[in-house]
């Protein structure tokens, strides 16, 4: 029974993720004063990609890459609570399990893209990994005071313990929340932090040699990834008390990122990493100091 419910949630998240992607394209288009594709475009794309008759592959690892990526993010989703009360494998919605499982997907894709012998792909991966040195530590340091405040390392316990609106951890630790929001932007890979993809420079980077069902799997990976990544932020800082609030929160945060994305140019990679070691680092350090001195 639990497995069925889990599967249901998993399908729901996939559908909503694709919907978010479609809406994002529409929103971006409206900001650019274009008409834009319909909001269900992402579904059509995935359907089209999966119904291609034949796809080029560069070898076993190249084929397995997207498979591992999709499997990794789906497994992470199982450990990510969708707000309070949603029966995920949450008894171990442990921060470190989630953070490390979150890497399995990108690692799989990196290995797959690497086998393609296209330098654009590898440059994209090298950039993505380097960017992690920027945002990942900020995200971690931002969430740290919240977890310590509630004396747990479990994401689910943090949601339960912080409670509804006026008690949100994001309001208790506003500086950490702000730092976390900036880090989330890099995690989502939206401009000005889209160096790994950088369509005009390195031809969409890791994805350059992927088409057909491989790209389809990567699209699904991206769709679930959006919800898991924004969900981590929402769960920690805004403790969604039910699943509706969870999705509303992730949608708002994602749209915020999309709007910034539509307005921004792109950093050079070292500028992006440097940026994270500047103001965001100060914000999250202040957040930790706030935990020590002004709880």
């Amino acid at each position: 029974m639990k497995i069925l419910i889990l599967a249901g949630y998993w399908i729901l998240v996939t559908i909503l993720g694709l919907l978010y992607m479609g809406i994002a394209r529409k929103v971006t288009a409206r900001i650019h004063n274009r008409y834009g594709p319909p909001f269900y475009q992402a579904f059509l794309d995935v359907l089209k990609l999966f119904s291609k008759r034949e796809t080029a592959s560069h070898g076993v690892m190249h084929s397995l890459g997207p498979v591992i990526a999709f499997a990794g993010i789906s497994a992470t989703l199982l450990f990510m609570p969708l707000g309070k009360g949603a029966p995920v494998l949450h008894f171990q919605g442990d921060l470190f399990v989630v953070l490390y499982l979150l890497v399995v997907g990108p690692l799989g894709m990196a290995l797959g893209a690497g086998e393609s012998n296209n330098p654009n792909a590898t440059i994209g991966i090298a950039r993505a990994l380097s960017l992690m040195l920027g945002y990942e530590i900020i995200l971690f340091m931002a969430t740290l005071p919240v977890f310590v405040h509630y004396g747990t390392a479990s994401i689910y316990d943090v949601i339960v313990k912080q409670g509804a609106f006026p008690n949100w951890a994001g309001l208790k630790y506003p500086l950490s929340m702000l730092g976390g929001l900036i880090a989330l932007h890099g995690l989502l890979g939206e401009k000005p932090f889209d160096q790994p993809i950088a369509p005009h420079e390195i031809a969409s980077g890791p994805m350059v040699e992927y088409g057909g069902k491989y790209l389809g799997l990567l699209q699904l990976w991206h769709a679930i990834g959006i919800i898991v990544e924004t969900g981590l932020f929402i769960n920690v800082f805004f403790g969604p008390q039910n699943i509706v609030w969870f999705f509303a929160g992730t949608f708002i945060v994602f749209m915020l990122a999309v709007i910034v994305n539509a307005l921004m140019p792109r950093f050079r990679i070292e500028q992006a990493v440097r940026f994270y070691w500047g103001v965001p680092l100060i914000l999250v350090v202040l957040g930790i100091l706030q935990y020590y001195f002004w709880r």
Binding site: A71, F96, A110, L111, L129, M141, A153, S154
Partner: protein, 602 residues
């Protein structure tokens, strides 16, 4: 049966291999195999808890004791040694090389069985000497300079240790592992620092690390397996035994010492990781990764809470496993290609699939992804630091752990992915010894990753008397006050999702194999000679991001120390000129001063 016969057996096997290597190739291989079998048979049948003592002179005696801790670390060294001998079968070196190899193992095992600080010192130094001799028989780079660097670091560490030993003897009246009573905290810290220094050197803690990358680079490739996976554990063992037996009270009561050591470990982990992903040589990259991973071990040991201490020891086991497999596969690749330069490799995945799988699982474990052996130690370490409340330290350690992804990917991509060069078209899978060692290393990576309790139970046996803490593990789960993880669930979730996603992949249309050059290049013509392997300056842009940070180097620091030292010696030389007339003058001055001071009373 005495346990120390293990060392005698190793020395005997060393001489056997020496003569074998002198006479014929087949005899050399046969004697190495005899060495492996003999060591394992002895270890399985005759290692028993047992004390022995000989050559007693007053309070000094050479004594050996196989305690739980010794047995734990001895098994790591025995496994690393026997596994590294498998690739050694394929390496042709001077006969002396094999002799020193076995000697290094013999003395290392005696170091671990030693029951007092002096015996430990003696065997520790003999191990260093054997390693020095092996480094002198290195294969690439500036061999003599490297070996000298190693032995100088080791000797300086040893002299400090000896000094510490004398001071300890003065205060406690014995040279055993027992603690020191009625001594001020500051003196205890001083003694601890002196005694622990050679072990810090051995695990290449910054700033005592810069012998390591050169030594790993120039040493024979099979030996580096044993060097990193096995011999570095002698250093870990030294630190563990000093902390648990001699200075437990100091570490429990003092607030600053644990923090300082943990921070040194954290900085080592971070800088080691950064240097690792900036190096362009496979062996140097692995050397820095080894330094970095031992940094986590030091964080865990230094912090000295029951959880962190267990995590540190667990991670040192993990270090043995994944550094072992990484060095083995890389040694195999170097054996086939004849170079360790990452920029000259690439695309070997189809040629050396087993090595690829070995290296892949090795880097996954090194990055700490569940359900491999790298995960439980890191997980417990994070939770331990958070429980201790040092949020900046846990951030530092987390930052260091991100660098692992960077150097891991650089390693696997530069060797196995990307473009297969024309001259490597006929490369074959690594020889049997390498492959067998790789496969054996892969078993513990998964087994102890899913069931870490097996190892934690052993660790609990010797941390319990010191910390008196509760059991925090079952065979497949870990539980602290703030978190809980059941590792098989993560593994099953991953496996199930992989199965599902694989089915999706299978039912959605077929795929055809594209040629290597069949790529999207925006219209540019690509043929075999097109340089499309991205390996040069892999993370070159990070040079700009790090800026001055990369200029930091221990070499410069020690050169600065040397300059001060030289200036001081120069000053001393002005006084001690070696000229008798000067000394006569000093004597005259002294007499005059004496007359003035004492005056008429003379």
């Amino acid at each position: 049966m005495y346990n120390i016969n293990l060392a005698l057996l190793a020395i005997l096997a060393g001489f056997l291999t020496f003569f074998g290597a002198l006479s014929h190739r087949v005899l050399r291989v046969a004697s190495i195999v005899i060495g492996i079998v003999g060591t394992l048979v002895f270890a399985f049948l005759y290692l028993k808890p047992d004390t022995m003592e000989f050559i007693r002179m007053g309070v000094f005696a050479m004594s050996f004791n196989l305690t739980d801790i010794s047995r734990f670390f001895l098994w790591i060294i025995i496994s690393a040694f026997t596994l590294s001998l498998l690739p050694l079968i394929h390496e042709e070196r001077s006969p002396f090389f094999y002799l020193y190899y076995f000697l290094a193992f013999g003395f290392a095992s005696l170091t671990i069985m030693a029951n007092d600080l002096l015996t430990l010192y003696m065997n520790f130094e003999l191990t260093s000497l054997a390693i020095f001799a092996i480094l002198l028989l290195g294969v690439r780079g500036d061999i003599k300079k490297t070996a000298l660097k190693y032995i100088i670091y080791s000797l300086v560490g040893a002299y400090f240790y000896l000094g510490g030993l004398f001071i300890k003897f003065k205060y406690s009246g014995n040279i055993g592992f027992g603690g020191i009573q009625n001594v001020s905290t500051l003196t205890q810290i001083a003694i601890y620092t002196l005694l622990a220094l050679p072990f810090f050197v051995k695990i290449a803690t910054m700033p005592f690390h810069n012998w390591a990358p050169d030594a790993y680079y120039s040493a024979s490739d099979s030996f580096t397996i044993f060097f990193s996976a096995g011999l570095s554990k002698v250093g870990v063992y030294g630190l563990v035994i000093l902390m648990l037996k001699t200075f437990a009270e100091l570490f429990k009561s003092n607030l600053y010492l644990p923090e300082i050591i943990a921070w040194v470990g954290g900085i080592t982990a971070l800088l080691g990781g950064i240097y690792a992903f900036m190096s362009d040589d496979a062996k140097k990259l692995l050397a820095y990764s080894s330094i970095s991973q031992l940094g986590y071990v030091l964080v865990g040991l230094g912090l000295f809470t029951p959880y962190s201490f267990s995590a540190g020891i667990f991670h040192s086991v993990a270090h043995f496993v994944f550094e072992g497999v990484l060095f083995t596969t890389v040694a195999g690749v170097i054996h086939r290609l004849g170079t360790s330069d990452l920029r000259r490799m690439g695309g070997l995945i189809k040629k050396m699939p087993i090595s690829f799988i070995g290296l892949l699982l090795g880097i996954i474990a090194a990055s700490g992804i569940p359900p491999t052996i790298g995960f439980p130690g890191k997980w417990l370490l994070y939770e331990a630091i958070i429980m201790k409340g040092d949020l900046f330290l846990v951030s530092l350690v987390f930052f260091a752990s991100i660098t692992a992804f960077l150097y891991s990917y650089k390693l696997v991509h530069s060797i196995f992915l990307g473009k297969l060069h024309k001259e490597h078209r006929d490369v074959k899978e690594a020889p049997a010894g390498y492959v067998v060692a790789t496969i054996i290393f892969l078993i513990p990576i998964i087994v102890f990753g899913v069931f870490p309790g097996v190892i934690f139970e052993k660790i609990y046996g010797f941390t319990k008397p010191v910390f008196n803490h509760d059991v925090f593990f079952t065979f497949n789960s870990l539980k602290t006050q703030i978190g809980f993880v059941k590792i098989p669930v993560a593994g099953i979730a991953l496996a199930a999702m992989f199965a599902f996603s694989f089915i999706l992949y299978l039912i959605a249309g077929r795929s055809y194999r594209a040629k290597q050059e069949d790529n999207y290049t925006a219209g540019e013509w690509v043929d075999e000679d097109f340089a499309s392997h991205y390996a040069q300056e892999f993370y070159g842009f990070m040079r700009k991001a790090f800026g001055k940070l990369l200029d930091l180097s221990a070499e410069k620091f020690w050169n600065g120390v040397l300059t001060i030292f030289k200036a001081f010696s120069e000053l001393t030389r002005r006084i001690y000129t070696g000229d008798v007339r000067d000394y006569a003058l000093y004597l005259l001055f002294f007499l005059i001063v004496l007359v003035f001071l004492v005056g008429g009373k003379l």
